[in-house]
Amino acid sequence: MHIPLQTGRSEVSLDAASSLEKAPPQSPVRAFLLSRGSSAFADRAFGGLMLVCALAIFGIVALILFELISRSRLTIERFGLKFFFGSAWDPVNGNFGALPFIYGTVVSSIVALIVAVPLAIGLAVFLTEMCPRMLRGPLAFLTELLAAIPSVVYGLWAVFVLVPLLREYVNPWLMKILGWTGIFTGPNYGIGMLAAGLILSIMILPIISSLTREVMSAVPHSQREAVLALGATRWEMIRMGVLRNARIGIVGSVILGLGRALGETMAVTMVIGNRPEISHSLLAPAYSMASVIANEFTEASDELYLSALVEIGLALFVVTIVVNALARVLVWAVTRGAPARGA
């Protein structure tokens, strides 16, 4: 696929920061100095030690995968793929199906994306293209703070502020206006899928927005200038010169946000309602994969129950790894040709 903004890649600059992909030019002097006898052993040992630490990262991921698979073997053998399509969750009789949790995770993440993506892109557009220079620093700092707030604090805020707000004002209004669609019906508890989706959207917004910003600043200025020179308005410049060139990276950042939303635990656990049922209404309590683990793991008395919970964790692990890898590849595809930052 041809991405216009990568045409600037041939002019590789000489400073080290911009040539992430390239090995440093090995000067003969440097090679000579490194090969001398006295420090050659110590150097090799040091390099080896660093390598061991780097390989430890592989080791950790492999170990996590191994532990998850070996601890969930019981349910994998017993239920097979049916585990992901069954909707019974009956620890007493040893019958397990993860469908309600998968449904809860997927739907709450979709709600989060629907709310967060337009806002995140709007924020990124404002910060990179429209914002007065004076405001840019503080606003970027504020969104960074949003990313640094721990999940449990979001949950606390959601329980005591967001949920009452939804219950008293937003939900009755939604039921009146959009009740006919069938997704805003039923008893109004405040907690439920909608609350979980909204708190998730606040949490993934900074990630999507900061990555989108990065991708958008990677679009060369010449692209903007060219579109402006053709007589475009500022919005047309943003749409045709920036967003179109950055779209793959933006999709990547959205997927990264999705990865975060899928695995988010504490805030969701506190507001989703924790009821393993599939309901078509967004106002009804639900359950998510991460929150069932958080709530029931220490209570899981027998082997099969524990194994079922670990298998949910395994599914979560595999899905987030795939989602993250995909997102990284997409973001990388756009930013690798970018000029050095600050240039």
């Binding site: 991921v61 806002l119 703070l145 640094a148 005591f160 047309e236 899928l262």
Partner: protein, 296 residues
Amino acid sequence: MASRTANLPLQGRKYTRAWRTFANHMATVVAVGSTILVVMPLVAIFIYLIYKGASSLNFAFFTQIPKPVGEAGGGMANAIAGSAVLLAIASLIGVPVGIASGIYISEFGRGTRIANMVRFTADVLNGVPSIVMGIAIYSLIVLPQKHFSALAGGVALGIMMVPTITRTTEEMLLMVPLSVREAALGLGVPNWRSVLSITLRTASPGVITGCMLAFARVAGETAPLLFTALGNQFWSTNINEPIAALPLQIFVYAISPYDEWHRLAWAGALVLIVLIVVSVALVRYVAGRGVLKGAS
């Protein structure tokens, strides 16, 4: 490209001047509007935290351990100490491994396939849900030991620190000019000394920034502690026993039905947020004016 000129985007019937100006203004309004919508919840969270937290924060909060249900007062001294113990263990694991991997990617394996794969794996590890990390450590440490412990919680947090530190260390080391390294080597310094006391030293503000960011991130993590450190109502700093932690305590108190505990949860959240905001602000300050300006 030539075939595209037939339907250039600006040639449609609706591209009258008035419509284009209108669309331009609308876009500005939408962008400003979404910025306001994003900033609003943040401001709301902070105002509410300060309002609720400050009114319930007192001296006893830092010096007393929780009182039984129904009694007023009490504090979270044990949770603060517990968090300190957990974070110390985490840093002991995460910081050396993270920095060493960053050094490997940037100084020894730069451009090689192994280095690229390590970088990619670190990014992927960064996205692993923290609850899954909890399960893995549970089955690695808690099950063989047959009891919950501060050690298990610390290890879980330490592993979560590694990817952030690795990536920032690598990025910071890449900004050190090659000539600095060559000057050191030219003076007869062995390569390992040059890496440690020249390259790493030059990049140290940035590397410290990365460590602080990782620290701030795991300081608020709750999910991996749920079934590793478990939590504890009493004073304990023994790393072989269940230990209390600030985020864990906030979670337990927030979902409890008691007003007194809600009050303590808000106070705890305020303490946690202040800790994190101070470190993030410090990081920005250091990164903004240090040797590696613009590197953050």
